[in-house]
Symmetry: C2
Subunit: 389 residues, 2 copies
């Protein structure tokens, strides 16, 4: 059964090179990288090779600034809680935005219950935070600013570099959740000026359940996992070596093919957005074309439920999403869409179309045809639509 995967925001397929590397690693019988015998050294070499690949992808000065984690969520929790706990004596105030991923929001809520104060800066109708407002939110007690690099529902890219210029002279730790950006758009932690940056392997076609945190040398954070001395004492526990090897190869390919992939994704994005009026009317595109990821289009279709469209698409073997997979099961409207000013009905009619290197213009055309049919069917049975049209 061939499925057209336009739900890359939830899960991207492994590229063949990653599959091959992981299968080779499985057959390699690696030992524990912390073991001091020959087999251990061989494993340690594979681990450090992957670390170099990640450092290359994000332009870290030193591979030792990369800490491997079990994915984006651990990375975000590690960054935020680790920075807050380690620096609580300097102050207990944290600045963030109101469109962050739940991993950020809920980590901060946890810290709030421990006495930290959180200021959440709002975004404009395009989902962009104004660096001036971040500056205004900072107090003498502020120890951490956490602003996402790109939003996982709308694809909006935030002005990270401008915010770093505010935090740096004040010596406030700056974390960016770049889980949906790293490996998709060029990333340079030196230029960005961030202290902590979270990423996840699956974003760039590596395995799920693997990711990492960039920790600029000198940034004080407490580990989330205490125990062994792995990862430069920043993250205890025997590593998921197979996953890390897969992520390393994925990083190499993301770096090497960045330009080609960008071209391909932008071609699909342009086709989707420019062809859309030929198929449906009365919709809103929530993704600001001028500053957004090349691989995401957030689309609110009036007078339909996104979930219903998703299920009808599923019957046509097209996978799409209505929101972050991490929020599956929640009945509440997306906080991201409410924050950019959508009303409740439009938020509920939202589809997140996220495509990848494995998709073609034909996939977009097939999606558009199926979208037209499902929207027509759903509107025909919508009392609100039939009453007003």
């Amino acid at each position: 059964m061939k499925i057209i995967n336009l739900d890359h925001i939830s899960s991207k397929p492994l590229i063949p090179e990653v599959k091959k590397a992981m299968i080779d690693a499985i057959n390699q019988d690696y030992a524990n990288p912390s073991s001091q015998h020959k087999k251990g050294e061989e494993a340690a070499e594979a681990l450090e090779k992957a670390r170099e690949s990640i450092a290359g992808l994000i332009h870290a000065e030193n591979a030792k600034e990369i800490v491997f984690t079990s994915g984006g969520t651990e990375s975000v929790n590690q960054a935020i809680k680790g920075a807050a706990w380690a620096n609580a004596e300097k102050g207990k105030h944290i600045v963030t935005t109101n469109i962050e991923h739940n991993a950020v929001i809920r980590s901060l809520r946890r810290l709030k219950s421990q006495g930290f104060k959180i200021t959440s800066v709002s975004v404009d109708s395009k989902g962009r935070v104004n660096p001036k407002e971040v500056a205004e939110a900072i107090t003498d007690e502020t120890i951490l600013v956490s602003v996402m690099h790109s939003n996982n529902e709308t694809g909006t890219i935030e002005p990270i570099q401008e915010i770093a210029e505010i935090t740096k002279p004040k010596k406030i730790i700056f974390h960016t959740d770049a889980v949906d950006s790293v490996g998709i758009v060029p990333m340079d932690v030196q230029k960005l000026g961030v202290d902590l940056l979270s990423f996840a392997s699956n974003t760039f076609y590596g395995p799920t359940g693997v990711g990492g945190l960039y920790v600029r040398r000198g940034t004080m954070i407490w580990p989330l996992f205490d125990g062994g001395v792995q990862e430069g004492n920043k993250r205890a526990g025997t590593e998921n070596l197979l996953g890390i090897i897969g992520m390393g190869v994925a990083a190499d390919h993301a770096k090497k093919n960045m330009d080609l992939r960008l071209q391909h994704l932008l071609k699909l994005k342009n086709k989707l957005v420019s062809d859309l009026p030929n198929y449906i009317d009365e919709y809103i595109i929530n993704t600001p074309m001028e500053y957004s990821l090349p691989n995401v289009v957030s689309l609110s279709v009036k007078y339909v439920e996104g979930e219903s469209v998703m299920l009808m698409m599923d019957d046509e073997n097209i996978a799409i999403s209505t929101r972050s997979a991490c929020a599956t099961g929640s009945l509440r409207a997306s906080h991201v869409l409410m924050s950019i000013g959508l009303d409740h009905a439009d938020a509920q009619g939202t589809l997140v179309i996220c495509y990848g290197v494995d998709n073609t213009e034909e996939d977009i055309a097939t999606f558009l045809k199926a979208l037209k049919n499902s929207v027509k069917t759903l509107r025909d049975i919508s009392p609100l639509y039939t009453k007003t049209h």
Copy 2:
């Protein structure tokens, strides 16, 4: 290059069935288990199948009591910190032993810095904790007891069931770090009576970087990772599905082959211990034969450095360990060995021989011959040995 792996305590090879399952999973192109379309449901089914396998291995009443983690260290941190934070209002006292793994020790040290009080009960010369001493250590403020199921350096199995009989009527949460036991010896959380039990996949020939926590229904713990709603809201983050699938298959085989494996491991243990006097003299076996894991022998050889023996063995393509791989790089003597009363010199002369289903009696014989040679060589150049002999 054929390596005889007697360092199973650091890393066990994947059994062929696990390799096959993981390679199949890589080629299956699983989606995100939280996605609501067909591909997502297929992934969710694979995830829940693995959860059932784990529940079967440890006799959990309900598979929902299993939370997947990135390994033993996360599981231990989650259990201890999660239970402490969630129950701090009831009291801030925790009881443990002085031979726990660093993941336990350092998690507790972290909690101490947050105002918790820790009482560490000592063990006898065989490494066993006396349940009476645990009972005496408990106060009205005690909210958590954490005692390991088996020790990772000596293999000593602790009287967990007897301790549970003490904690249960007092409604104190009881956690056991069973990372080195689950899948090696029969495990029944109902009989044991524990509330929280940590395990790791690699112990039973699954991949590294995967594990889990058994959380008895009704046990209050805070998540270590806040974010998405995965794992019944107990552990946010997209799952390491490939690793979890591997762990599930490993669990099925561990359960099915438990008796056969036990017989094989005990045969190797008996051979090692009974043949040893024919090869070397002046040594101590730290593993109590009457209550210990079948796959570990801790051996302190007088007048030698364990590290030197390990390196000489490595030249002969035999992998052994001197201590927990998680403590690699530490120059201090093992706290476990000091706790059972070894002097510093004997602790430094300790080897941990840990074998598995892939080892043979011939491997043990090869090891013993190599041990004889290296011990002779090292003693010949030891001033202390030559002066006293």
